[in-house]
Symmetry: C2
Subunit: 482 residues, 2 copies
């Protein structure tokens, strides 16, 4: 069974059926905003930290597999379908998913309507762009309804999936024109919000999951989609979703484009209200203005492609073996960058809710990307070293948002500190930048205990030397591979 | 909108539509084995502890609402339906759910086939009985297929819902005749297993969720059910389910009964294998033999009803107000017993995965059931007191399986110790059994620190007296209501 192929010229992997044995996912985002997206548009988004600032709710190990996601429902006569098959799973006349470097493109068609959905996280912006182009390939005028859907997570992904007696009562949303704002806990303890918007006037919206799906309803068959009408619901408790409802007429041969944004914005704590109970929206509006036209989206996507051109140009091989070239020049390096971004903490199997980033892992991973992003590797080294304890030992993990050691897991994995030396050595070999050794770095994130990085390395080494067993070999401690 | 009514004579609440605004649930079980069951057969089962020994997987705050459960699919021609509507949600010709005291009965019909499903946890046994009677109310022979379904949880409900990189690879099942055994981790670290069985020969089975539902399949439309054939799958990794497949012929007017059991059994650690890799099954088989006939099931249900007659006979009121009589004589006392059993730790909203049992809560709850079960109230008092610390303070919560204080939450809720005095006072007033005061009770579950219960009460009181603020009022500490 063949499910797809590599397109080396475009540096894409092309999936030709939605029914892969497991979801095949891509990772969007390069700095602070990240999304996972599968070949059927499943996945979730977060800002900086998959545990603490989760934007959308995902259900791991779910039935049906790989729900939720960002979903676009197209109702055309009595048929409802999605450009990426899920969740309705209507048989498509055509389907293709291209996972590229930091973006995914879905092309599909059904009954003479073609859809092209492009998803990416633009450089320097905390949002995911979903550009959907619908085309009428028939000789007749076609009437459609287009309905969007995301389900918001209440920020802390662990609490969101366990503290139901609380989180079923606190959901809040706000709608302003085509812009849907998720603001649960904004009033009480947060100054950040999520937004989901489209660059068009809409014919309706929903923010209450129950109103949209119907009680006992499923995302495979949302009530609002099948009934062809939104209920303009404002969630107050329950589950908060974002859904836009658009009625569309396409002349023969006509195409229309819709630019959806799912974004994160943070206000200053003392300047977060526009009016009583109305959140200040200028940051979201500014981003929306940057992605209001197809030209702007195309430009942002081009910048993203140039960014990857630049990254991958640092190191390449040309051999007689296409497969070797492909892996060395594209996918291994891409994987290393994904590992830099996610540090193995967020995937479909590592839920992003438990472990944060590994001390050992992140030091090891650095060897794979130091040549791509030496400046960011430098910062990563300093972040990791700042969680080290004064005696040279280390927290096994740290949380990406706070950059502090994770005391739930604690330390005592005695190989951890040595990997810091390996990481710094790799950085020095790549850059020759010996100034990093003089950089003052906290111990245990305490500024008063800062010492030059070289002192951290010495303590790492000393800790190993002074923790030996009866055979004079270093004690492993509680390392997971012992 | 009316969804049901009280049947006071039978002491049941009768729900007349499956589409209640939220799931309306009943609590089955009286000692060690507990199940939650909704009016559409959703819910989950556990042994002693909803966090540490969860038998079946439930998805809180799910879409569709209230899935999973113990499900029975009836395929009759091209129509598939469930006796309690979910998960297929086929419109039924008749539907009724009766939530009684420790049991629930569902009666429904579709196209001339009637179903009666009786669910309860028998006294003294660690299993849930599901007796399903199918009747042909037509004048013709009818051919049906009956398919059962539960999805097993991998015991620790928190790990099961977070540690996917591990738990997607460890699932194990065993099938022997009509008996399906869930034995994940039995080999490595457990000596207990779950079983799901039926008192009939079967025509097939499934234990792999993917095989049963189909990849990307849903429990609303399992592949095996619609195709009318099981694949006799043995799960090896992935999700482990239990599903029996039975082909049934019913003559006009004929009824057939099927007794399904979902149970828990524990073997001695040093005597857990029947043969290499084959678990020892004698305990499950012994329970199965006790519920092999309709007569046995009827007898067990009668015993359960007598148990409740006895409990409720201790305290009753007769007044001119039916509603007062109903609440005092039946439902308030039933609720108190459910609170004794679950101690607010497992419901659809309190997930049973976080808090264990509350020190304060359990002391307060005792006031509601001490007259019903004075001997068990006595034990509950001793269990709670044994988690108290030597200085008189208390863990705020303790885990029902281990009966040890929960150090994640810790103590410092300064009202906690005083509630122990209130609980003991209630027990003394009800029973006059002052011997409890002399009973030796551990501090912090340490036998070497045992002191008579009266000493615990003194320390509770002293702790309050010695922790006063500037106005000589007791310091609240970190109590949740301050």
């Amino acid at each position: 069974m063949k499910y797809g192929y590599f397109d080396d010229a475009r540096r894409e992997y092309v999936i030709t059926t939605p029914k892969t044995p497991l979801p095949w996912i891509n990772y969007l985002g390069n700095e602070d905003f990240f999304s996972l997206i599968s070949n059927t548009c499943g996945g979730y988004s977060f800002y900086k930290d998959a545990k603490l600032l989760r934007l959308t709710r995902y259900r791991y190990n779910n039935v049906p597999a790989d729900t939720n996601g960002r979903y676009y429902f197209i109702k055309h006569g009595d048929t409802v379908w999605n450009p990426a098959w899920q969740p309705v799973k209507t048989r498509l006349d055509q389907y293709e998913c291209r996972h590229g470097l930091g973006y995914s493109v879905f092309r599909s068609s059904k009954d003479g309507i073609a859809a092209k959905l492009t998803a990416f996280v633009p450089l320097g912006r905390a949002c995911e762009v979903n550009q959907l182009v619908l085309s009428n390939q028939t000789d007749a005028i076609q009437e459609l309804t287009l309905t969007s859907y995301v389900e918001f997570c209440f920020w802390n992904a662990v609490d969101d999936a366990s503290n139901f007696q609380r989180n079923l009562s606190i959901g809040e949303a706000e709608v302003c024109g085509s812009d849907i704002y998720h603001k649960t806990e904004y009033r009480e303890r947060r100054s950040h919000y999520a937004y989901y918007t489209v660059n068009q006037d809409i014919d309706g919206f929903d923010t209450s999951r129950d109103a949209f799906l119907g009680v006992y309803g499923s995302v495979e068959r949302p009530k609002a989609v099948w009934e062809g009408t939104a209920s303009n619901s404002i969630a107050s408790g329950g589950a908060v979703i974002g859904s836009h409802h658009l009625k569309i007429t396409l002349a023969p041969g006509e195409s229309k484009s819709f630019i959806f944004l799912l974004g994160y914005a943070q206000n200053p704590q003392d300047d977060k209200w526009e009016a009583l109970g109305v959140i200040k929206k200028d940051r979201a509006k500014a981003v929306k203005a940057e992605f209001a036209t197809d030209g702007q989206v195309e430009e942002a996507l081009n910048q993203l492609k140039q960014y990857w051109d630049r990254l991958l140009s640092a190191y390449s091989v040309e051999s007689a073996d296409d497969k070797l070239n492909r892996m060395v020049n594209i996918w291994n390096q891409y994987q290393c960058m994904v590992t830099f971004n996610m540090s193995r903490s967020a995937s479909y199997y590592e839920s992003g809710t438990g472990r944060g980033m590994g001390f050992r892992d992140s030091c090891q991973d650095l060897l794979g990307f130091v040549h791509l992003i030496p400046e960011r590797a430098r910062q990563r080294i300093l972040d990791i070293a700042a969680t080290q304890l004064e005696d040279g030992s280390a927290y096994h993990q740290y949380q990406p948002l706070t950059k502090k050691g994770n005391s739930d897991i604690g330390g005592g994995f005695n190989d951890d500190p040595l990997w810091l030396i390996a990481a710094v050595a790799a950085y020095l070999k790549e850059t020759g930048d010996f100034t990093i050794l003089e950089e003052p770095v906290d111990f245990n994130n305490d500024h008063t205990k800062a010492e030059p990085l070289i002192e951290h390395l010495k303590r790492s080494f000393d800790y190993t030397l002074t923790h030996l067993g009866p055979h004079k070999l270093p004690l492993i401690g509680r390392a997971d591979w012992k």
